[in-house]
């Protein structure tokens, strides 16, 4: 049962595929963004898993502690989360504009109005 020890990496792979599938398969623009978020979140979980150390604690010098989690991936992911939030905001703003101009956010209905190759 060794593979269970790395179960968080399996979660990463499953989340990534779910997210990617939603991005490709869904015609609703909001759902596409949701998929994109799941896809990105899987990468965040992946980075956090990299930093994990069994019995490791926060990287603060304490007596009797010798094992620390690696703080760098945490910092990277904080930045990546901010980027992800900005992207979601940008995407949602665009969806609002799409709704205003086309009256729908379903891809096939938009394509009926406008021919976008």
């Amino acid at each position: 049962m060794e593979w269970l020890g790395h179960y968080n990496y399996w979660v990463v792979v499953v989340l990534m595929m779910i997210g990617f599938y939603i991005v490709i398969a869904q015609g609703n623009l909001i759902k596409k963004l949701v998929g994109l978020n799941i896809f990105q979140t899987s990468v965040f979980v992946f980075f956090i898993s990299l930093a994990y150390l069994e019995d490791g604690t926060a990287p603060i010098a304490l007596e009797g502690v010798s094992e620390y989690s690696n703080p760098l991936p945490h910092v990277l992911i904080l930045t990546a989360i901010v980027v992800g939030v900005a992207l979601t905001a940008m995407g949602l703003a665009l969806v609002v504009r799409v709704q205003e101009t086309y009256g729908t956010i379903e891809e096939d209905e938009i394509h009926q109005q406008d021919d976008l190759h």
């Binding site: 896809f39 980075f47 990546a80 900005a86 992207l87 995407g91 665009l94 190759h117």
Partner: protein, 493 residues
Amino acid sequence: MLEHLPALQVAIALTAAPLVMMFGRATRLAWAVATLACWASLAVALMLFVQVADGSVISYEMGGWAPPWGIEYSIDAANAWVLVIIGLISAIVMPFARQSVEQEISESRTALFYSAFLLANAGLIGITVTADAFNIFVFFEISALASYALIAMGRDRRAILSSFQYLIMGTVGTTFLLIGIGFLYIMTGTLNLGDLAARLPEVSDTRTIRAAFGFIAVGISLKLALFPLHLWLPNAYTYAPSMVTVFLSATATKVAIYVLLRFVYTVFGFEFSFVELAMAWLLMPLAVLGIFIPSLVAVFQTNVKRLLAYSSVAQVGYMILGISFASALGLTASILHLFNHAITKAALFMAVGCLVYRLGGVSLTQLAGAGQRMPWTMAAFVVAGLSLIGIPLTAGFVTKWHLLQAALEGGLWPIAVFLLGTSLLAALYIWKVVEVAYFQEPENPDTAVSEAPLGMLIPTLVLTASTVVFGVFGNFTVASAQTAAAVLMGAAP
């Protein structure tokens, strides 16, 4: 002061962006400040370029933290070359932008528009100067977010949808890049490009590193619009405001190609990328298809902006083809084409911007008679078009010549024949525009259409003239590209 130039290169555009935003309805002032920032960026880029022209490397420690722990900015002949391209294009497009933006963007959004433009500019510069893998990801997103906003400001309502498509594909691309960087980090414990290059050989024979290479290559290929990952590009370029198309077509894909070169040559190394993983066997077919199919599609387009956008995808193919020869000559041709295509395509899109300004659109039917009514603009289009085809005495010819030599050096004469054949396709789609503009009567001859305003015409003509200047006096650009190629093929930065 001089030693802080690498930081200044990013800081100028980045600090000017919020400043410009605050001008609100004082749009002239916003434009003036943005223009100054772009010119200052160009000056810094040129100073850096001169310093590293001999093949030396400038290393800058951000905030005084020594690499590999701190973020390092590193300038060598390769990225100084790209900095000059970004600086030059942004400096020339800004004077052009004033009237074009006045017409295409509502007054209340103009300051925001310039602010987003400066952010996109800063992002692209940042990607180029940094020597930190995660920093590359962050700057990619900065420039991408600003680009989505810029594209969505196009007048056609399809601009919003194109921007959304780009957002989805661009994000998938940069997230792939992030996954790849994560893999590299687990195996080496570092994010500094030079440090990665030093530590990778020990662990390179693992599945993790090969997966990292795959993720990074695919992620960047999405950003540089390598066929068949180019689907976002034609719509984005077609519906974006004129000046945005000029800027993005000349810089965004070029910077992504630079990042690919940096990872392939500096981080993973020639040996790993081309010998062990035989990357050339993947790149060459994609480049050949990527030149042929989009060129063919371009021939059948009826909107000139869209036609040129497909031509951009084909030109990316030429650059990738140069890389796929896996030789110093091929790499030189690719690096040369970064510059030559940037000035050529920017000149073409500027001419199109002038046409849009006067005619309201650039479908082929609207262009009828433009040759007589806007003689200077169409002359610029024709000359830049010749450079795109690769006629001798133009910049485009210099790269085609080097690509041809590289193909023959590798003994790939079918590729050489293919290069000549695809130039004919380019001639075909440029001719299609020229024919309509010069040999067809305008639809409604009574309406008066005059030449584009001087503010837009002069930058267009200057850039067009430069395609001829760099075609006749190609020695300078070729020498710089050779140095850049030598630096990339050589040791770590």
